[in-house]
Symmetry: C2
Subunit: 263 residues, 2 copies
Amino acid sequence: MLLIKIGGGKELNLKGIAADLATVDEKFIIVHGANALRDELAQKLGIEKKVVTSLSGYDSVLSDENTIDLMMMAYAGVKNKRIVELLQQNGINAVGLSGVDGKLLQGKRNSGIKVREGGKTLLLRDFSGKPKAINKQLLDLLLENGYTPVLSVPLIDENNFAINSENDDIVALLQSEFKAEKIISLIEAPGFLLDKNDPSSLVSKMSKSELEAMEQKVEGRMKRKILALRKLFESGDTTVILSDGRNENPIKDALNGKGTTIQ
Amino acid sequence: MLLIKIGGGKELNLKGIAADLATVDEKFIIVHGANALRDELAQKLGIEKKVVTSLSGYDSVLSDENTIDLMMMAYAGVKNKRIVELLQQNGINAVGLSGVDGKLLQGKRNSGIKVREGGKTLLLRDFSGKPKAINKQLLDLLLENGYTPVLSVPLIDENNFAINSENDDIVALLQSEFKAEKIISLIEAPGFLLDKNDPSSLVSKMSKSELEAMEQKVEGRMKRKILALRKLFESGDTTVILSDGRNENPIKDALNGKGTTIQ
């Protein structure tokens, strides 16, 4: 079993990814993003990001109903169906599903952000949360019958509302249930770079302990990225490969050891 | 088994439909539209309808790649997932799928439209076609395991491209495979009206032969509507109910004989 995470960047070579996946013998589950498409659509539709500052001083992006509609258009709509179409063209019988379908990806809605407005303290609750459980029975049913699941947000929350979430958390949750031997993450970079502006700073191999050591040294975005990677090892040994999704053969490259391999 | 067709109008009471469906004991499959949402999105995104005139003098709307993207956003994206979400809130374990997912709705792409351009005759092929086969194995798998399929365009064509199609044809094809006892079509009207501007012209009961007789008398849009209804009877006896989807209880009303019942 493989888990394939396809990033949401504009430059990912989806055709190459689909063609490569047709040569893979193992079963796999795909989780994809669509953030570039979502941002493009948001701009065209004039939907602005709502950022609020919490009492404790942190900025958060609020996911309101429009944000979820937008996510359904970009992720569960265009991107999901275009990926399924490409896979079908390569002989892979893909089925695209979001977390609300068959309660496939179940989440817990965030409790809210305390903000100060007009001299009052308000609790703002948006439609976002964290994945907590999956409907493994439905995924197994599809896999056992020859279908390849292609998954995207939104999740479904404890009251059956569609909510936003991080794809990294979804992949980690899937890994805790499926214990995939390999997790391939296709990104818009050659792999893990020590300096994001310098491709020659690529780290081609890393151990789990090197990953942990690095997490202590870095800050911000880099720290969050490493934390997401580290979580993939929490449910047991696996191999995580960060590979350049813009290449001609992103999956073949990953399986041949290009990019960054973490074991 | 019931087949439920939910029209794509803006005024349909989706909450009422979902609540009513939770009281239905039989299994059912839903096919839904989203034309009002699609048109609204097209306008906001500045995607214009491309109309061409064929050599034989007929006007046709061309479905290009943008049209299919738009369909994926409106039908397979927002509308499909919002309906699934509402059904989940009412305890129905719905799974939303388009025709490309697991090759659920397979179509044949239209051969093209001959047009005259710059002194030359060109054959314009767009992404549209007619449904020809369904993946009944996948629908049965879902139904047998307690899931309610919620289906929308696009279809998948013979070369695995996503194509546009008429929902009426999809419902007729599903009926030829499932032989539902009842087909409920939820529309933005009290039922079948002899004069579309006069609600008191509602026909509350019609026989199949009355339907055929009427088809001979009318023209244009009305003729196409009746033809679509007549096709539902081609695979055997059934009951078709046209019901007002704007009411408080659209499904209960339909099952209680409100609207137009055709037997």
